[in-house]
């Protein structure tokens, strides 16, 4: 019998299909028996890698600690790390890959709101579960996302109230030009009006902008009691260097940065930040036993010169919050894990926190601190636990 090429390929394909069929489910269930797969989805390359790469470090640390302590429900966690590459369609594609191919039980990931918005429909369609560790503007609640950092009102209102009481009555709002600063300033405008403070100016600069001389001149002319800054990323370096060069320092001007943590301080140059304030949910200097343990473990794994900031801590607790919810539910099934998360409490590095009953966000502290010369932050104010209110009506 003469076999031509086409026939050969056909029969070969048939044989391999038959061979693969019974094999595949067996392999999958065998793997599922002793490990649980979880995914990490952040940008390791591209513009945003600057902020996200270290969040991955914190999340990996948590997973490692959990495995060392015996895993989740007796199973070790197996982590799949994907690179979102600072590109929103890539985020969506990688999320789909994690859910469809790797069948991960949960994903810890995303940094910018844009990346989260790109991943959201994928999470809902494939019934995945995303833990989102970045402080953001609020106005969202997906059944498939848990938000482990502050939403807008949790930091904005607490900081404005404190500044109004302690630093002065007129505020200058300056921010980068995208959704988070615009929403934060919208909240700020409404709230300042309500408490009787004055808005001395409001200005936005394109992301990555490096020229603030004219703005600083305007600030000097407006003489506000407080500068409330939602400038993000590389622009911050330019903003603080130029403020300093123009003679505006922590010694003579109250300034509260809403997006500069210990992590950004080294790039900005701590000497330019000294005396200015930062508002975050977490500082490395928080005095709490769980925090001492976290900071020590992080430095032991990644080096003594590394620092931790708010987003990293939120990434770290995301893994633990998921673990607790899974153990409470007794399964990794997403709706059951989400249901078990309601009012779930954790003794986190930032203190005792808990999930809201219904809205997928955390009850959190807002903290205000002053930058020291070495880039660390001395806490000067800690709010009580604040209820998350992503759809705020002011």
């Amino acid at each position: 019998m003469k076999i031509d090429r086409r026939q050969f390929i056909k029969s070969a394909a048939a044989v391999s299909t038959v061979a693969a069929l019974p094999g595949a489910p067996f392999i999958r269930s065998a793997a599922a028996a002793d490990t649980i797969k979880v995914g990490i989805l952040h940008s390791l390359t591209g513009t945003i890698a600057i902020a996200e790469a270290s969040v991955v470090d914190a999340e990996k640390l948590a997973i490692e600690e959990i495995n060392a302590a015996g895993g989740v429900m007796g199973k070790k966690l197996e982590v799949v790390v994907e690179d979102g590459a600072s590109d929103w369609p890539t985020f969506a594609e990688k999320a789909r890959k994690l859910l469809e191919r790797d069948q991960v039980a949960a994903i810890y990931g995303c940094y910018t709101s844009a990346s989260r918005k790109a991943v959201l429909p994928v999470m809902e369609r494939y019934k995945g579960l995303l833990y989102y560790p970045t402080y953001y503007e609020g106005l969202e609640m997906s059944p498939n996302i848990m938000y482990t950092a502050q939403e807008g009102t949790q930091s904005a209102i607490a900081s404005l109230d404190w500044l109004y009481k302690n630093k002065g009555k007129s505020f200058y709002l300056i921010g980068s030009d995208y959704i988070w600063p615009r929403t934060m300033n919208k909240l700020a405008n409404l709230h300042l009006k309500k408490i009787g403070a004055r808005v001395a100016g409001e200005s936005y600069y394109p992301l990555g902008s490096i020229e603030f001389a004219s703005e600083i001149n305007k600030i000097k002319a407006a003489k506000p009691d407080v500068i409330w800054s939602t400038v993000v990323g590389g622009s911050n370096v330019a903003f603080y260097k130029q403020l300093n060069a123009a003679g505006i320092t922590g010694a003579n001007q109250a300034l509260c940065a809403m997006a500069v943590s210990e992590e950004e301080a080294s790039g900005v140059g701590p000497e330019n930040l000294e005396g200015f304030m930062s508002c975050m949910g977490y500082f490395q200097s928080v005095k709490h036993p769980a925090n001492a343990k976290f900071v020590k473990a992080f430095k032991a794994k990644y080096g003594a010169n590394r620092v931790v900031g708010d987003t990293m801590e939120c990434g770290y607790i995301s893994v633990y919050l998921w673990k607790l919810a899974v153990e409470k539910a007794g399964t990794t099934d997403v709706p059951k894990v989400v249901a078990a998360s309601s009012e779930l409490a954790l003794d986190a590095p930032e203190g005792k926190i808990k999930f809201h009953k219904a809205n997928h966000h955390l009850w959190k502290h807002a903290r205000i601190g002053t930058f020291r010369k070495d880039g660390q932050i001395d806490m000067i104010y800690e709010s009580p636990l604040i209820e998350p209110n992503p759809f705020a009506k002011i």
Partner: protein
């Protein structure tokens, strides 16, 4: 508006103008004189900035006593490093693409992505802190004007930009090398026939443009951030200045930088930063609509 504010605003305009001049001079030579659209120009600036950072680290470790002069050496080193890199780049890549402008664009854009990722691997994804030397910290406040203060770093950049512009002028119009560059720019075939080694001139001219980018990047470490994507923040403004001024004219680049700098800082004072930027772009578009070759284009025979 008080007199002090007005004076400071004028100073800011001047400062921004000189920043744009420094950014654009290198590109004006590469793009203007040689016709190479170098999309990696921003990354060359970042390379200059990183060289300065590396110099600062070296001084901190081995010669802490001389820390105050590291910055001057850093600028020189930034020029040397980017000059050498530019020379190698021209010999290794650009010279094969002179007749294919679109391919040059694509190739240099690819190069810019590669360089960004190299910076990320070598120096990490986070911004690095380049220390400001003590003699450039703070501001000069004249006694006669109590409300005004002029940041020393900006004064330094103004002086540096003037020196560099003057140097480029001397080089192009008062030396044999400059004469050769101009000859090759105006008529390549004829210059070659007259015995000028056009390939050598190309390589050195391109390297000079890159070296100037290095100087710019190095000096901007005082004002702005140094990170893997720093170059992207500069490159758009750089192209706008060169195209707006008129591609073949160095004087045009200077004038357009001055015009854009003064206008932008005025707009920024009157409206928010984003709107100021948008207005500038709108003005440039309208200007280019009426003068497609740029505001100060010299007439060249093609």
């Amino acid at each position: 508006m008080t007199l002090d504010t007005f004076l400071m605003q004028a100073f800011n305009g001047l400062s921004l103008s000189t920043i744009l001049v420094l950014m654009a001079l290198g590109l004006a030579i590469v793009f203007g004189l040689m016709g190479v659209i170098n999309m990696a120009h921003g990354e060359l600036m970042a390379m200059g900035a990183y060289t300065t950072y590396a110099t600062a680290l070296l001084f901190e470790r081995y010669m802490p006593a001389l820390h105050d002069i590291y910055f001057l050496i850093g600028i020189v080193l930034a020029f040397v490093v980017t000059f050498v890199f530019g020379f190698a780049l021209e010999r290794g890549l650009i010279r094969f693409l002179y007749k294919r402008p679109l391919d040059t664009m694509l190739a240099t854009w690819g190069l810019s992505l590669i360089l960004q990722q190299v910076f990320r691997h070598v120096f990490g994804p986070k911004e690095v802190g380049v220390p400001t030397v003590s003699w450039l910290r703070g501001a000069w406040a004249p006694v006669t004007m109590p409300g005004a203060s002029f940041p020393l770093s900006r004064i330094f950049i103004i002086v540096l930009a003037l020196l560099v512009s003057f140097g480029v002028y001397l080089l192009l119009f008062r030396t044999r090398w400059g004469l050769r560059i101009r000859a090759v720019t105006q008529n390549r075939a004829m210059a070659g026939a007259a015995g000028i080694n056009t390939e050598r001139v190309d390589a050195l001219t391109f390297a000079l443009g890159c070296g100037l980018a290095g100087i710019a990047g190095s000096s901007f470490t005082m004002l702005a951030s140094t990170g893997p994507v720093t170059g992207q923040q500069y490159v758009v403004d750089t192209f706008i200045v060169v195209v707006f001024g008129g591609v073949e004219s160095l004087l045009g680049t200077l004038l357009s930088a001055t015009l854009i700098g003064e206008l932008q800082s005025t707009f920024e004072f009157l409206m928010t930063g984003s709107m100021a930027k948008a207005s500038i772009l709108l003005l440039v578009i309208v200007a280019l609509y009426f003068r497609p070759n740029g505001l100060f284009a010299t007439k060249v025979r093609r």
